[in-house]
């Protein structure tokens, strides 16, 4: 399935990023916005009207020309998703809100950030309904790549259907994804699990230096490493931190900037003791995050102070740090009258995320810490897809691990998008707290502030309050994910957004 509008996982986006481009892109190795298919842009003072000047001389892989009309066709197509297509277009729903004509249960229109797009010569004029700090960065998400209108129509791209417990996709998504990138779709060899991309010679920028990229599916982590060692593959993504040191000697280990966050969530819904800030603080003091980061996480990993990594705006070190202090934790528990506290602690199995390479070791370390200060634990482990995520969203555990890898460089992507603190009914149940509504409006207000300096100051304030007054979760760490390539493969720049360009890799002699 190669239509990025319907994709949500990194595995799908990896080939898409070589084949397609958005209006804006990100500077290699950073999460900062740079021009891509839009050469430049201006916006009205209220931040509601955006004029994107479309780059000239760009052609899609099917030979058709990119123009402002094609851009608007794409945005309108995304906005007009219905039925199964709307269910699948999750990045749109997460970032833009509703679809055209979409009603909620009460029959009201679901608000959408996107209003309209009109082509005016070589300019695409995009109107949005409210100012947000995320715009236009969110247009750089791979899901919002600009695809060939001709191919989209010809291969019936919107025809996504639900059949049984699965979605079916049209020929466009399966066999004819058509973008503007340096590589074009070759074929998908299902028998071998290999996706083949070929160089697109009509690319507007620097032509790809490689003639072919093959993406091979190897589900087992050790098998990936052994395939690299045996020379079967030229590189693989997300090597286990435990292997970094041994890989470094013989391979190019590219370490991405840590653009993620792992946190211990506190769900205040079921256990009244957790409604007491002192108890939540005691939990924070009990965790030996420093030792955990040093012993289990790769170099470059840091103990998290805020709810997002330090490269994101509004980050501040002036927050309550909660340095490891088991005595203080015990004292706080005594003050709160909770010396005999039992908590339901959940952790996930069958999963490895960039922010949490090995959930079991995370759990082992912190469960030992909590028990050391006298908190009793009722442990539940569930498969990630087999009940863990469902349970966490249904407010079942008291304590749980979760995290997030940033989509782009804005605080709201973490605080609003991932933690959902702008919605009182979240997995921490902040809505049940006297301060829940305040927090939600503070998060929303910061996101809606058009003035950059003011906005950042608001986030600094918010981060301080999150640590000292609200504490719905305890940020644990930001951990850099890596990418490993054979020694003779150079020229790939590691990106915090996993937005790597393999088309311009340089293959030297072995």
């Amino acid at each position: 399935m190669f239509d990025p509008l319907y994709a949500t996982d990194g595995e799908s986006f990896r080939p898409v990023r070589q084949m397609m481009e958005g209006l804006v892109g990100f500077k290699p190795g950073t999460a900062d916005v740079e021009p891509k298919l839009a050469e430049s842009w201006t916006n009205s003072a209220d931040g509601l009207t955006w004029n994107f000047k479309i780059r000239q001389g760009v052609t899609f892989h099917d030979g058709t020309k990119l123009d402002a009309a094609a851009v608007c066709y794409n945005l309108d197509r995304m906005y007009s998703q219905t039925g199964a297509g709307a269910t699948q277009a999750q990045y749109w729903a997460d970032n833009m809100g509703g679809f055209k004509g979409q009603k909620d249960d009460a029959g009201k229109d679901v608000p959408s950030l996107y209003k309209s797009c009109t082509a005016d010569g070589d300019t695409a004029v995009v109107k949005i309904s409210a100012y947000t700090s995320k715009f236009p960065a969110l247009l750089g998400l791979p899901s919002f790549s600009i695809q060939s209108p001709t191919a989209l129509k010809k291969y019936d791209a919107n025809n996504v259907q639900a059949s049984g417990e699965a979605f079916t996709y049209p020929a466009y998504a399966m066999e004819h994804p058509t973008g503007t990138g340096p590589m074009q779709f070759g074929k998908y060899d299902k028998t071998n699990g290999v996706i083949e991309l070929d160089r697109y010679d009509g690319y507007w920028g620097d032509k790809a230096t490689v003639s072919k990229i093959l993406f091979k599916v190897i589900p087992d982590e050790t098998a990936r490493k052994q395939a690299l060692q045996a020379g079967t593959i030229d590189g693989y993504d997300l090597p286990n931190p435990a292997d970094w040191d041994s890989l470094k000697a013989d391979y190019n280990l590219l370490i991405r900037p840590a653009f993620n966050i792992l946190y211990l969530g506190i769900d205040m819904k079921n256990n009244p003791a957790l409604k007491d800030l002192k108890v939540r603080q005691a939990i924070a003091y009990a965790l030996n995050r420093k030792d955990f980061v040093a012993s289990q996480l790769p170099e470059g990993a840091t103990v998290a102070l805020n709810n997002y990594p330090d490269t994101v705006d509004g980050w501040t070190k002036d927050v309550e740090p909660y340095d490891y202090n088991p005595d203080k934790a015990k004292q706080l528990l005594t003050e709160a009258g909770q010396t005999n506290l039992t908590l339901n602690f959940w952790w996930p199995t069958e999963v490895s995320r960039p922010y949490m390479p090995d959930p079991k070791s995370v759990f082992t370390a912190f469960s030992a810490d909590l028990q050391a200060v006298g908190i009793k634990l009722n442990v539940t482990s569930k498969p990630w897809n087999g009940g863990y995520l469902d349970g966490v969203e249904a407010n079942k555990p008291d304590l749980f691990f979760l995290g997030w890898t940033g989509d782009y460089n804005t605080p709201d992507n973490f605080l609003g998008g991932s933690l959902a603190l702008n919605n009182p009914e979240n997995r921490f149940d902040t809505g049940s707290q006297p301060w829940g509504k305040t927090l939600a409006s503070e998060v929303a207000a910061a996101d809606a502030e058009p003035d950059t300096a003011k906005r950042n100051a608001m986030y600094v304030e918010l981060n301080k309050k999150l640590a000292s007054e609200y504490l719905p979760d305890i940020p644990i760490s930001s951990s850099p994910p890596a990418l490993v390539l054979a020694k003779n493969v150079t020229g790939v720049v590691a990106s915090p957004l996993t937005d790597e360009d393999y088309a311009h890799a340089v293959i030297g002699q072995k």
Partner: protein
């Protein structure tokens, strides 16, 4: 299951051959005694038996006295400060820690010692449950025959028709919270049909045997016949099978752990689980995988050797 005729036949044959051996001479009591003595005579000189017996005894002793032998709490992160995973650094062997620390800084030696307990538990309980389940089904089918037999055996055939590991995986996955118990149940259910068929074959052979016919002619009730005559005489091939099943259970449990369906307890170590966790780090830290793997192989081998030597010793063909 229709294609299972041969699997069934083989189990039935095994049952029948040893059954006839037990009841061949009409005087059951004395012949039973002589068979055991006979078997023991052959076992005593069998190196295979002794190797197996020694391995198992050592293993069981370690498991029983694990608390005394293990120098540390297997769950405590004692060597965490010496553990730097990303720098390829684990706590090395040192006084008090003969094998060093594991990936989290826990004492590897203590984990192996305490882990023997779980492995023994899996082996023994899986076998016991499999045996008991098989005993109930097999006795029902064998003792009553007719419709009961048909119904029970159809059920058994359904279970036999699914490849055993797939069945175990399916059962293990049903548990929302995977644990040692779910592993034991998954591994044991797979063995129930095997035991059931074996016992039923035995019982059928016994039903037609002279001493049961004689007892029935004398007016002895059904229950005493089943429990005093038929069951005891059916057990010898079952015991052989049970010994082998201990080994199979231990290996199957390890496979479940490898697939992430094993015990997720972070407090109680288990060899299969340790091997499964070390798997992903096998070439950075091979010893983390080799120790538990070696333990599993040696213990499974021990039970297999014992089972094989018992089978040889009890095999009527060897008495010619």
């Amino acid at each position: 299951m229709v294609g299972l005729t041969k699997k069934k036949e083989r189990i039935d044959q095994l049952a029948a051959s040893s059954a006839t051996a037990v009841v061949d001479p009409t005087d059951v009591e004395s012949s039973g005694g002589s068979i055991l003595a006979d078997a023991w005579r052959r076992l005593r000189v069998s190196p295979v038996f002794w190797i197996g017996a020694v391995i198992i005894s050592v293993f069981v002793l370690i498991a029983i006295f694990a608390d005394v032998i293990a120098p540390h709490d297997p769950g405590e992160l004692l060597l965490r400060s010496q553990t730097r995973l990303a720098r390829n650094q684990l706590a090395p062997p040192q006084p008090g820690f003969p094998l060093g620390g594991d990936q989290l800084g826990r004492d590897l030696f203590s984990r192996l010692v305490i882990g023997s307990r779980q492995t023994l538990l899996v082996g023994v309980f899986a076998t016991l449950i499999g045996f008991t389940g098989g005993l109930i089904l097999g006795t029902l089918a064998g003792a009553f025959g007719g419709k009961v037999d048909t119904v029970v055996m159809r059920l058994v055939d359904v279970l036999l028709s699914i490849p055993s590991l797939l069945l175990a995986i399916s059962i293990a996955a049903l548990f929302a919270n995977p644990s040692q118990t779910s592993v034991i149940i998954a591994v044991s259910v797979v063995q129930i049909p095997v035991f059931a068929r074996l016992l039923r074959g035995q019982m059928l052979a016994q039903r037609e045997s002279d001493h049961v016919l004689a007892a029935r002619a004398l007016g002895v009730k059904r229950a005493p016949i089943v429990f005093r005559h038929m069951l005891p005489n059916s057990l010898s091939p079952v015991i052989v099978q049970a010994t082998l099943v201990v080994a199979i259970s231990i290996i199957d449990a390890a496979a479940l752990s490898f697939l992430g369906l094993g015990s997720q307890s972070v407090k109680v170590p288990e060899w299969g689980q340790m091997l499964g966790e070390a798997q992903q780090k096998i070439d950075s830290y091979p010893h983390l995988a080799f120790w538990p793997a070696g333990c599993i192989i040696v213990v499974a081998l021990g039970f297999t050797l014992l089972g094989e030597s018992l089978r040889e010793a009890l095999d009527p063909k060897n008495r010619r």
